[in-house]
Symmetry: C2
Subunit: 702 residues, 2 copies
Amino acid sequence: MSEKETSPAILQFVALKSLVQEGFWESFSSLKLDKLGIDDSPISITGFCGPCSHPQGSNYLRLSSESLPLDEQSSIASSTIIHGNRNKCPVPGILYNTNTLESFDNLDKQSLLKAEANKIWDDIQSGKALEDPAVLSRFLVISFADLKTWIFQYCVAFPALALDTPASLVEIKAASEYFSSQEAESVSAACKDWRNSPLTTGVPFFLVSVSSDSKASIRHLKDCEACQGDHHQKLLFGFYDPCHRPKNPGWPLLNYLALIRSRWNLETVRFLCYRESRGFPDLNLSLVGQALVTLSSGESAETIPDSVGWELHNKEKRVLQSINLADSMDPVRLAASAVDLNLKLMKWRAVPSLNIDVLSSVKCLLLGAGTLGCEVARLLMRWGIRKITFVDYGKVAMSNPVRQSLYTFEDSIGGGEFKAVAAVKRLKQVFPAIEPSGVVMAIPMPGHPISSQEEDSVLADCKRLSDLIESHDAVFLLTDTRESRWLPSLLCANANKIAINAALGFDSFMVMRHGAGPTSLSDDMQNLDMNKTNKQRLGCYFCNDVVAPQDSMTDRTLDQQCTVTRPGVAPIAGALAVELLGGILQHPLGINAKGDNSSSSNGGNNDDSPLGILPHQIRGSLSQFSQITLLGQASDSCTACSETVISEYRERGNGFLLEAINHPTYLEDLTGLTELKKAANSFNLDWEDDETKDDDVAVVDM
Amino acid sequence: MSEKETSPAILQFVALKSLVQEGFWESFSSLKLDKLGIDDSPISITGFCGPCSHPQGSNYLRLSSESLPLDEQSSIASSTIIHGNRNKCPVPGILYNTNTLESFDNLDKQSLLKAEANKIWDDIQSGKALEDPAVLSRFLVISFADLKTWIFQYCVAFPALALDTPASLVEIKAASEYFSSQEAESVSAACKDWRNSPLTTGVPFFLVSVSSDSKASIRHLKDCEACQGDHHQKLLFGFYDPCHRPKNPGWPLLNYLALIRSRWNLETVRFLCYRESRGFPDLNLSLVGQALVTLSSGESAETIPDSVGWELHNKEKRVLQSINLADSMDPVRLAASAVDLNLKLMKWRAVPSLNIDVLSSVKCLLLGAGTLGCEVARLLMRWGIRKITFVDYGKVAMSNPVRQSLYTFEDSIGGGEFKAVAAVKRLKQVFPAIEPSGVVMAIPMPGHPISSQEEDSVLADCKRLSDLIESHDAVFLLTDTRESRWLPSLLCANANKIAINAALGFDSFMVMRHGAGPTSLSDDMQNLDMNKTNKQRLGCYFCNDVVAPQDSMTDRTLDQQCTVTRPGVAPIAGALAVELLGGILQHPLGINAKGDNSSSSNGGNNDDSPLGILPHQIRGSLSQFSQITLLGQASDSCTACSETVISEYRERGNGFLLEAINHPTYLEDLTGLTELKKAANSFNLDWEDDETKDDDVAVVDM
């Protein structure tokens, strides 16, 4: 007891504190979702610290969005930031983020801390700490990031080598008291230079030597032996001290002392806690102290010291910090992140090669905003597709909201809102970050003759539809009549756009993707014939028909008009239509991908497309709970996608369109279907079977 | 010209007008939707008319909801109404409603009118018109009822036999001027008696004879010959005249004259246009006239007269009337009708034997209001199911609205609304007539041990869940963990309730219906063993397992927690789950229906169920765009639905539940799975295959 009073006081260090900014967790979330996935290996991060810069407050070790490893793709400009600046000296750290709360709880905190402390010890032993003194201060973060709720839990440690025999303090005083005024002036000037030089501003440990003529100079630690050889009035071990306390040095001194004792075997160490005010050296705030570092019995300079350093509550309990970003984030942005979450999680394990960017940038045109249109829009949104345009001329009827999942009762009263308008509104209510638009427009149909007064407006609609298709990447044909699919099919084939077609029967459905247009490979040569020798294209909706689309709406009973279907048909067909688009977008050949069959045992394109096979057509029946894939090639006599038709459309434009609209037999004459049918009549028996098949198609079209 | 001035004026009749009340079209809509379907045969209807009852206004022929043929199932009480009363004398009519607007336009209006006129002529010739004079006035309605928009278009005709030579008017005056005051008093009294007697009030044509002592009596037309034999001061042909005009008789006189001329060959006819005021005979309003009915040359009494009678505009254009019930109906009721429309239309052609009543009355319990719960609720609504209860303890998270189709962004902000609350609210916004409710509750799970303090609340939850299952008809298991399905599976087996199970993998799904409970056939006998010899039950979700459900939620990474699935999986699985329920409800054996296979060439239960086959399990894969049906029988070792487990639950109640919840191996020990697994270990090779299958199941459960 009495001995304790006479012996010098134990040197007490003020613990460093962490300040983890929201940006750190936001950036980490992106990194985790986009790149790391379920990989929970520790990652190198960088903290930022600097000398204390305010007489009333210590500096924190800060973690910001810049603390995370740089993305290779990011610009070079930002890579300079990681070198820090005078107030953001980089401190090396490591982050252990676990995938589950249980793993987080089960982490061996003491071992992790020790591992980091050992790195410091190793760097001291190897001499690396002399070359790059920044490695003397390290930190460690363990965390569990719940990316669903945006709540982050974490603990931070500043591993320190605790000497068996604590250092004792001989004396400590303001640097201004320790130095003569002449020395102080010179020390200040030298420190200012050190801090201002980009080469040294980030070097937080250094030597201050004051010559007998009161001239101070600052040297790198690696020059220590040389310094010691010189005859100095004073040699001090300086460091950037984040602490502001007038009688205690900050945390970095701990490992500094371990270095000094191990490296130079000094027992008495004079140190300078370098602190600043308003960006200038402040020798009133800076401290100079003298510490006694003795080895205990049995302890050698090579013994690895114990490690301490978890941030503690009342010096006892490890601080578990928690931050809820959901509270501070813009709800709309938060929703957008949450929605992306599902997609990004797919990449973690299920489909690592999924290309999410292609999904978010694709523009989809939905022709029809009815039962199928609503389903498809919702599904597209779930696939991360943001740009959705509805085309529909109808209004929301009373019977619609129950079956058409975007609308509510409110949309149907008072005559009903236009579907193309209501769909946009409701989609935004589901997900504010979506970018939908709506066009109230009827699709011109062949075999629905128009008067000459109507010609201008119908041709304007044709032009408008053509422009819409040109400005989108994928077109969904979701109307309720056969003939309204003709012009879009033709325009998609002409513009070589992805077309997905879904049609419902009472308890059956057909979903298909159209093949590429006939001129897709020969546009440059302006030679439509060349293609005939090219590989086969997939068929479109009209390729199997022996009749051109005509007016199918007139004189139909209510159950035929209303597309009476079993409720389950539309959601299934809508889902398959969108999954088909997903498959095309992820397939390296896109619109040109050949049609796979689910029965093909070799798995078809499995290697090509991360999502599995990519069929041409899917037909399903609810009465049999069955589903099959089909494959059909493009027909030379097709009234919508054949070279003959596309070529005629390109040459004659509006004249062609008017003829197709007004003359029921024009398309059949043009494509040779008329001839084909005549020929077929002489083989009546053979055709019976095919007629039956065509009837099936007709049912599907209802 | 000069001849015209000297000859008597042509007798001009005031056309009858129709007043079709909204109730008529409402009732007709029901009849059409519920019974007639696409049958467009003409139907007999009844109009109501009566003598003019107001000096300033003629009476209409009214059509109301009572005008339609009575439903055989309706009460006898209402059948008396069709006989009418003094102000609603029945007039026989016929309705031609077409299924399409085109058919309506193409109706041969003149032929239809002539056909009705011929009926009148035939009745005159046959003498029926004497027995039942009401058949002298007939009417005809042609209509097109657009039951989707609630717009009804129609024309009404009052067929009349137009004599070749128009009747000419000798004189016409107020009856009060024609009769002496004494006669008038007696005529009034006689008419009053006729009108007040239930036997004659509905007989609109009659004879008025006034004897020489000024006493009036009213006789049936069939008594005409007898009357003529008598010596009368005056004999008048009376009829209920709906017209109020002071100088013209109403429309019924036209056919009356045809009868009189044809039957009795009279050339001079004295008629009484009987009219009332405030329910009493009004001889000031009533008219007495004398008409001359001459046969033109070549015309005999047997020549069928021309027919006229379509309601006309300015005596020229046929009136096409149109009524839009949507404007006047309560929007909520209108929405309900509109929603039912889709179902009723199914009966028209696709599924005539569909039982809609069973759908509207069934109560569904949805365990889980997430992605699947939302899909299932929407689909149930489309099948006409009104009573839907959600059970969920979660709140709407930011990522939910995009995938969970009932919620919007608004539901997810500020921490999120409880899903069970938000789902109810949103469902009502889609369809106000729906009757949803929500229960915020977690489902107790086996292998998730609880503390003794929690026991009471967990057991209360078990009780609550049991009560909910008892009070519903069908239970959907739509939660996101395996173990949360155990207690509901057990309770459904215990209560013998329909259970539909849907579970999602990343790009696969499984949908199944559980079989009946093990005690379903032996409850009365309280003998669980008896069932062992009974026919096999279908398996439940746990019947294929060799492990009891345990805690699968702890220590899972984010992609495992979040049920990462391809967007198309949930809508398909949800739709199939609801279609499966639809199939069970329409199947005569209900929960006991055996499991069909889509591959079975005989079509399975096709004859039993109007909706097609009824499989036990459906599994599908989006990566293969394939779908198969599977069949699995109940297992004696099942941890959820075996006799052993149900019997133990019934005997031990809460004790059993706590043991299952707290002790992971209890259920396996109880059912013999522990023994089974031990045995399996000695046949390790054999089990490998099955383990693989179990892995597949585990993936589905994710």
